[in-house]
Symmetry: C2
Subunit: 127 residues, 2 copies
DNA sequence: AAGTTTTAGAACTAAATGGTTATGTTGCAT
DNA sequence: ATGCAACATAACCATTTAGTTCTAAAACTT
């Protein structure tokens, strides 16, 4: 799986409230499929499907204990997702900083000369 | 929209590589629909649809400039998503800490007496 | 006024998603 | 060996999604 595919899998796994609830439960400790299914108004196979999605995204791993398949949460994919978010947060914060700078410059410019063009022009810069 | 629905919208918006690329582009500054569409091997209406998804999730807002509808990124929903991730990270880190403690106890126990039961039993604790 | 640019919408299609019920499969218990 | 418990798989269905093309609307340009 490429990094982009991993992000696809992680974010789409997180996009469902049932799956987020399952992760929330697993954050408290391992649980079997039936234990996980219990709070939900849906069949066991439906929960098994959700677990498969979570497993495919690497967010959950399973072991064996007789007939049970205890599930546990895995943090690594969430770290990747967090990193992605942090990265773009940084980028657009830099962008805001640049906008602030530009607005300062325009203000100074306006004070010095007169009209100062369209401030939104900065948006097409590709540096 | 409930907080859960907002998370649904945010995470599923982020689950598509095209939409993540659009956000990456917008992190560098505003852009029009055609500008955003240019790098992709897909039609303009397809990009418009992606933008609608991003807009519905509150990740993008649009203004007017003649025929253009410049798009800009909005950070708030991403902050919510980050918060959700951070929350569960904290939870399962607490869980790991508890596991460590338990393992320590079991080791001490084993040293004192003998066999010490199944260490994975801790998983069914609901404190 | 007519044409062009930019964007949105409608109608359609293929594939993925989220659920169901019914049926296997695996491993323990009696 | 028979049965029960926990889970998975199969087959099916409805809805959503991601794309297409074609068309319409809005606002500028000449």
């Amino acid at each position: 799986m490429t990094p982009s595919e991993r992000l696809d899998a992680t974010f789409s796994a997180l996009a469902d409230p049932t799956r987020r609830a399952i992760l929330a439960r697993l954050a408290l400790g391992e649980a079997s499929v039936l234990e996980l299914a219990e709070p939900f108004a849906m069949s066991q196979p439906a929960v098994s499907k959700h677990l498969k999605v979570l497993e495919r995204a690497g967010l959950v791993s399973r072991s064996r204990d007789a007939q049970r398949r205890p599930c546990r949460i895995e943090i690594d994919p969430l770290a990747e997702a967090t990193d992605w978010l942090a990265e773009y947060r940084k980028l657009w914060e830099a962008n805001f900083a640049r906008l602030d700078t530009l607005l300062e410059e325009l203000k100074a410019d306006a004070a010095a000369h007169g009209s100062a063009g369209n401030p939104t022009d900065f948006t097409t810069r590709e540096d």
